[in-house]
Symmetry: C2
Subunit: 229 residues, 2 copies
């Protein structure tokens, strides 16, 4: 476990005294010693940790390199560029989200109550990992470009929702609307609640999202059941 040797170089606005400081001339790793572990994965996890703790803006390639005691360009052996690293972070987020959703669905008994639990789990994930969640929904991504792994991970999470809805339709619990459209709608509802909560639009307390999620899921389900009543 590496504890990062704290004030890296960030302390801006400090006068010339700093410039005059010794500079701690290059940590100088024992020559010939390379990382040799699974550096790619280590970089990914370090990036996720930084993002969760301090937000995307605080993520610098130099910083993650330093955290792992590795040159700041070593990363380019494993990722095309910073965007590529962020795509990997996003993909991992979608996989974790899918696991959370599936877990809520299955441990909830796969009924309408489980569906509700799934909705809550979705919002909880976002509220618990706001920065990571935001990276998943690429405010940062250069338009359109999106690698296949990320696309697959996103589609996988969406599929968990589609499967649950399909089961509900088969059970006659909700309207038999086109599955993709209906799933898109449900996704939009939980995504909207999550984003508003994260952006503090629901008030200073991000957990306000959990409360709204309860109302939203209830109203949502009511709407999907309506024609059956």
């Amino acid at each position: 476990m590496l504890t990062l040797s704290t004030p890296p170089a960030y302390a801006a606005s400090m006068p010339s005294r700093v410039a005059a400081r010794p500079r701690s001339r290059a940590p100088r790793k024992p020559a010939g010693r390379y990382h040799h572990g699974d550096l790619r994965n280590a970089l990914l996890q370090a990036a996720v940790a930084t993002i969760d703790r301090e937000g995307v803006e605080a993520l610098t390639l130099r910083g993650v390199g330093e955290t792992l005691g590795v040159s700041r360009t070593a990363l380019y052996r494993h990722f095309r560029d910073k965007t590529s690293l962020l795509e990997a972070v996003a993909a991992q987020g979608f996989r974790t989200l899918r696991a959370d959703l599936t877990c809520a669905w299955e441990s909830g008994g796969a009924g309408i109550a489980a569906f509700t639990a799934m909705g809550r789990a979705y919002v909880r994930f976002a509220v618990t990992h706001p920065s990571h969640y935001r990276v998943m929904f690429g405010a940062f991504r250069p338009q359109g470009t999106c690698d296949d792994d990320l696309k697959a991970a996103g589609a996988g999470a969406f599929q968990a929702l589609v499967d649950a809805l399909a089961a509900q339709q088969s059970a006659g619990a909700i309207r038999r609307d086109p599955l993709q459209t209906q799933a898109g709608y449900v996704w939009a509802v939980v995504h909207g609640v999550a984003m508003l909560a994260i952006d503090r639009q629901l008030g200073p307390d991000p957990s306000a999202g959990n409360a709204l999620a309860d109302y939203a899921v209830e109203a949502l389900v009511t709407g999907l059941e309506a024609r059956l009543l």
Copy 2:
């Protein structure tokens, strides 16, 4: 003291296109000639234009200065920093959005059809100005900080929604749930549809959001009416 200046660091690595640009070595304005118009507003509009055309990542203070034929530090006379400029951009977006919503509501006859039109207008705004819309929901903003003007503008847009719902409740057209919660839910639905469309999660065509919006508003209204049937 160590006031941390917000780490900007979007704008990854402009490729060679930019480096290859003429550079137009210091426009050298006729000495003694200053802008003297409403520079603050000119800066704001230039920023909005750049954001709408090329996205937030393409916005640089140097760039907007150059666009207006003004030094790249002139901006600091009118905005505290880049974040402050972006907050002003966001506030203006909320005011335009509010106008769009109110227009849809009123010209729609203030009934349930008008409410539907409002939902569509919301999504249309986002799909038409994706980058601007994203700035409004501060993926970029250093957590929590939010100036009063922006807060007021956001609350104003939300109020348009609250007013419409209050009218519907009074008319007995929808459930009489707590207004703030119900409005938060409706907002979440349209916001979710808008964000998914913008992020191309609904497919490569952003106008897929308009189609989903139709289904969403219908399902939404059905849910809000349900207990009245």
